[in-house]
């Protein structure tokens, strides 16, 4: 019965599409499609926020110095390190001579940075790099990711409900808290669109909306780039590689299966290689936070916790402090700190500690979820120093979703567990159906969402291990993003379902019944012989 209704609806839609074809040229028709229209609105938003002055971006905490150095860019040093955090810096220097900094690092960001730098050079030759060129390169991929995402929830259809969903998508993912990252050298800018493409290409493959080879290419490319972002992302490649190899069951085409196996194994190997080759990025900053904003902050007795790491228990006074707060940089860099504190903290030790103290891990999960719901860390400013805002000021333009998220969503792990339950409850039947019918393609919708969920939870865990509840490495950002992506897809599903339920109702009959109800009563009364 249900199916028949769907088919009827589809046919009706087809007819409508055909009729609109006559109305205008193809391009107009294509542009008016919900997903395309959503992307067009996003282009407008990005133009206003990122490219037309006053330019919005993210302050720089110095963690990306090695990465931009790998693309022969450098910090002009116009701002002090404190100001650099509080204000966005638009202009950076392009090295004119041989790059002898010695700390240059090649990551997945490098090709994007190089492209942006060459674009800048083609446009101006002033030795300055305008961040907006990088923003433009990232924005292109961001828009592609958003198109994919909108396609997954609208099934490429034109209907009122599809416009509503896309509108919600624009509010959530066009939020300035998200888009401001595009104008920054942080890995967040890349992981933003990579994670989005990763999951939505799987879901789209399940819906058979776009070419399989295109989608599988998108999946593997984005997975590879994500794993090469830095060392801590590399381990994700093992999971994604195994998933990639298993994708061969989706289609019976020989070529497709070969691509899946070869690319999946490549992804596995390269992510393992990256894990061992790439420098361990864990800076003092994150090591410090993994203790003070993690282990010590939630410990019943920080002194005992320190003793387990065989660190001087007097360091308990640093409980809850942040890197820039309590100790001067000279002391932080001193031999003494290195020997008595930093050398004794490593991720493995922290993992073992949390395994031994699951209560603390749960507490940290709660705190991390809460702090991840602030998509922008509070200490990074959005404005340029010349715009005259106070240090660390963040923009309020188009931040409805991030405001709601930070202030009204329950930021604790219990909520995430319930939310995961809802997600699995809704989607597991697709998986079950696919397995029973031996139609693996139908399982992909569930698999795509689960990939997001897995990436999100993994990053949440890694964030706690490596930097406590401060998101100095961009892990919590990914968790927050996957939360939004999954919620958005569920929301889309819900709106679609609601629309279907409403369509079943014969509104005209109800209306007539409503209008008739008094007449009927009157008739009854008359029959019974009442007189008013």
């Amino acid at each position: 019965m249900n199916k028949d209704m769907d088919i009827n609806a589809l046919q009706a839609e087809k007819k409508r599409n055909q009729s609109s074809l006559k109305m205008g040229p193809w391009s107009y028709n294509y542009l008016i499609k919900p997903s395309t229209l959503g992307v067009l609105v996003l282009i407008g938003l990005l133009l206003v926020v990122l490219f037309i002055p006053p330019v919005i971006g993210m302050g720089d905490d110095g963690s990306t110095a090695a990465i931009i150095s790998g693309s022969n860019l450098y910090n002009l040093g116009d701002l002090s390190s404190k100001e650099a955090l509080a204000f966005f810096q638009k202009d950076w220097g392009i090295m004119e001579y041989f790059n002898d900094t010695g700390n240059a690092q090649i990551t997945a960001q490098t090709p994007f940075l190089n492209t942006a730098r060459n674009l800048d050079r083609a446009y101006t030759w002033d030795g300055l790099f305008d961040m907006r060129f990088y923003g433009a390169v990232i924005a292109l991929f961001y828009l592609l990711a958003m198109y994919f995402l909108f396609e997954t929830v609208t099934y490429g259809k034109r209907a009122t409900w599809a416009y509503i969903i896309v509108g919600l998508g624009v509010i959530i993912f066009g939020d300035t808290a998200y888009t401001a990252w595009i104008n920054s050298f942080y890995p967040q800018a890349l992981s933003f669109f990579l994670v989005t493409i990763l999951g939505s290409s799987l879901i789209l493959m399940g819906q058979e909306k776009l070419n399989d080879y295109l989608l599988i290419g998108c999946f593997f490319l984005s997975a590879l780039l994500l794993c090469l972002l830095n060392q801590q992302y590399a381990l994700l490649g093992i999971f994604l590689g195994i998933l990639g190899i298993n994708l061969k069951y989706v289609d019976k085409k020989k070529h497709f299966q070969r691509i899946c196996v070869i690319c999946g194994s490549l992804l596995l190997v390269s992510s393992l290689a990256a894990f061992f080759i790439m420098p361990n990025e864990l800076s003092k900053l994150s090591t410090y936070h993994s203790m003070t904003r993690g282990v010590l902050m939630t410990a019943d007795n920080p002194e005992q916790a320190l003793e387990e790491f065989s660190i001087n228990p007097q360091y308990a006074v640093l409980t809850g402090t942040s890197y820039y707060q309590a100790i001067s940089p000279e002391t932080m860099d001193s031999q003494e700190m290195a020997a008595t504190f930093f050398s004794k903290v490593n991720p493995t030790g922290v993992v073992i500690y949390y395994l031994a103290n699951p209560g603390q891990l749960y507490e940290m999960l709660n705190r991390s979820v809460d702090s991840s719901f602030n998509i922008r860390p509070a200490w990074l400013g959005n404005y340029e120093i010349t715009q005259g805002y106070p240090p660390g000021a963040q923009t309020n333009f188009f931040t409805l979703w991030s405001y709601l998220k930070a202030n009204y969503l329950p930021g604790n792990f219990g909520f995430i567990i319930i939310w995961t339950g809802v997600l699995i409850g809704i989607y597991v039947r697709f998986f079950r159906k696919g397995i029973i019918e031996k139609n693996e393609r139908n399982t992909l919708r569930f698999v795509g969402l689960m990939t997001w969920l897995f990436i999100g939870l993994w990053e949440l865990y890694v964030a706690i291990i490596t930097s406590g509840d401060t998101d100095t490495l961009g892990h919590l950002f990914i968790f927050s993003l996957t939360f939004d992506l999954i919620s958005f897809v569920i929301l889309g599903k819900f709106i679609h379902w609601l629309e279907k339920q409403l369509r079943k109702v014969d509104w005209e009959a109800r209306k007539q019944a409503f209008l008739q109800r008094n007449k009927d009563k009157q008739k009854n009364r008359e029959q019974r012989g009442y007189r008013l």
């Binding site: 404190k82 955090l85 410990a299 002194e303 007097q314 308990a316 006074v317 640093l318 809850g320 001067s328």
Partner: protein, 535 residues
């Protein structure tokens, strides 16, 4: 009679407002002199990539070390007539570049106050300077002699000296066998031909500045162990203070203020160690919180400092002075409150503080210039006694890493026969928040009452609760609501159980036959009888 009274009234009417006006003017004048700085320091360039890069910072630090306030301006930013507001002007010329500010050149010709000229001579700027015979020598090894102390030999690529023989007792630059005066004074003009960033030259200029200001006070030397954190090697701190106490060396301990977790047992332990240090004749000095660490600006910094100092005094630790880099004195006094309330302080070496543009400094009442222990070790004196540097100095001795290092450092201090002053004995005073602390030769007084510095160990709370239970709003109402609900639910459950029990009986009774007790007790016995009775 009436007329005379009238005249008197008129006269008073005329005189009164005038006196009032004069009074106001006098007040205004006082305010003006209050805000005017004592010295105008004019420099040409920072000379960043040369050996003269530290010169501006050196002069600024020396002025702060001598408790002088200054206004600092670059020649390019100099406004005509600015000089005339000052009794004393220092000109620092780090480069040979030509001066392009006509207003400045004109003012130099007409200036009548005391003037100190450091560095390269600009021809035609001062007629007196042009006639001074200067010997320019390339690539020389020199040492600075002051008060009978000979500093470390250093190599100077481009040395300019006044081509005269230095008099006995005069601060001098020794080049090979010849001795040249460090400076030459002509009338109102004092000329220092060469200044580079070196402790010997710094102290030499200190002598010149002290004479130039006409200060006659004796210079003191103190000793500071800087950068002590609660998580520093506290055993080493105790060992060091024991060793210094045993050797009769008065010392000061520079404590970095940490305002987080001030009630933790670790902090109590730290205060305990500081009390112990005080009992071993050590003085506590507070470091300026690093401006880089404070993210919320100066206002926050001052609040935190108030909290830290109050807590210290509560715990029997009495900080008497301030240890700070020179950059503090460039900040507005109102911004650095309460740091400016300390009467005395130690100025630590602070490189790279000079920023271009005009600046004004403030000064502590008594200040001392930080020098490294190596400078002392490298300085040779004529007598067995080390003698005095011309200005107040503080030896900065980092906390030794181990006992061998401690023995080494102690050896240097003992071998030099230094005359060290106990920081407590300097007249220190401050009022911060509720506390007023003074210290002098007679000891430390807190709010007027003398305090004992003897050490007595206080127990440290062993079962301190680190995790404070979170506070909820309307907690009372909710707990009351909870207990009410619990009792209601409890009563209902009880009722339910009662009902269940009774209803079971009622239910079972439906099936019970009303029989006599005998029948009930022996139903099996009667059965065959009943069977028999059936037809």
């Amino acid at each position: 009679m009436k007329r005379s009274i009238l005249i008197l009234i008129v006269l008073t009417l005329i005189v009164l407002p005038m006196s009032a006006i004069y009074g106001e003017e006098a007040d205004a004048k006082d305010n003006l002199t209050m805000t005017t700085k004592e010295v105008l320091l004019i420099y040409d360039q920072l000379a960043v990539d040369t050996v003269y890069r530290d010169n501006l910072s050196t002069v600024e630090t020396l002025l702060s070390g001598l408790s002088r306030t200054a206004e600092i301006v670059a020649i390019d930013d100099y406004d005509a007539g600015q000089m005339s507001g000052y009794q004393k002007v220092i000109i620092l010329k780090n480069t040979e570049n030509v001066v392009n500010n006509p207003g400045f050149m004109a003012d130099c010709q007409n200036y009548s106050g005391a003037l100190l000229y450091i560095g390269f001579v600009a021809p035609g700027l001062f007629s007196g300077l042009d006639s001074v015979p200067v010997s320019r020598q390339m690539g020389r090894t020199v040492s600075v002699n002051l008060n009978g102390l000979a500093g470390n030999s250093i190599w100077i690529a481009d040395l300019r000296v006044v081509d005269e023989q230095a008099g006995p007792g005069q601060t001098a630059i020794k080049v090979g066998t010849s001795v040249y005066p460090f400076s030459k004074t002509m009338d109102r003009l004092t000329y220092v031909p060469t200044l580079i960033g070196d402790p010997g030259f710094t102290l030499g200029l200190g002598q010149i500045l002290k004479d130039w200001f006409g200060l006659a006070v004796t210079a003191r030397m103190t000793l500071l162990i800087p950068d002590i954190y609660p998580f520093s090697d506290l055993n080493m701190v105790i060992e060091t203070s024991n060793a210094f106490y045993a050797n009769g060396i008065p010392f000061a301990l520079g404590v970095v203020p940490i305002d987080d977790n001030m009630d933790f047992p670790a902090m109590a332990r730290f205060y305990q160690v500081l009390r112990y240090v005080q009992s071993k004749n050590g003085t506590i000095i507070v470091h300026r919180p690093s401006p880089i660490t404070v993210s919320d600006g100066n206002a926050m910094q001052s609040e935190k400092m108030y909290a830290v100092i109050t807590k210290m005094v509560e715990n029997g630790v009495y900080p008497l002075g301030l240890a700070t880099g020179e950059s503090l004195f460039f900040d507005e006094v109102s911004n650095v409150n309460p740091l400016n309330l300390f009467s005395s302080g130690i100025i630590l070496p602070d490189s790279g503080i000079t920023a271009p543009g005009s600046q004004e400094t403030w000064a502590l009442h008594w200040a001392s210039l930080g020098i490294s222990l190596e400078t002392i070790a490298d300085t040779s004196s004529q007598n067995r006694n080390f003698g005095d540097y011309p200005i107040n100095t503080t030896i900065i001795m980092p906390l030794p890493a181990n006992e061998a290092a401690l023995a080494d450092q102690l050896g240097i201090i003992n071998n030099k026969w230094l005359t060290l002053t106990d920081y407590k004995r300097l007249d220190n005073y401050w009022t911060i928040g509720q506390n007023t602390i003074t210290s002098s030769a007679s000891g430390i007084r807190v709010n007027g009452l003398p305090v004992s510095l003897s050490y007595d160990e206080e127990p440290i709370e062993a079962d301190y609760r680190y995790q404070k239970p979170p506070e909820y709003s309307l907690e009372k109402i909710f707990t009351a609501g909870n207990t009410f609900l619990l009792t209601v639910v409890g009563i209902i459950i009880l009722l339910f159980i009662v009902i269940v029990i009774f209803s079971r009986r009622v239910y079972l009774n439906k099936f019970r036959k009303v029989v006599s007790n005998e029948e009930k007790n022996e139903p099996v016995k009667n059965l065959p009888d009943q069977e028999d009775n059936t037809p």
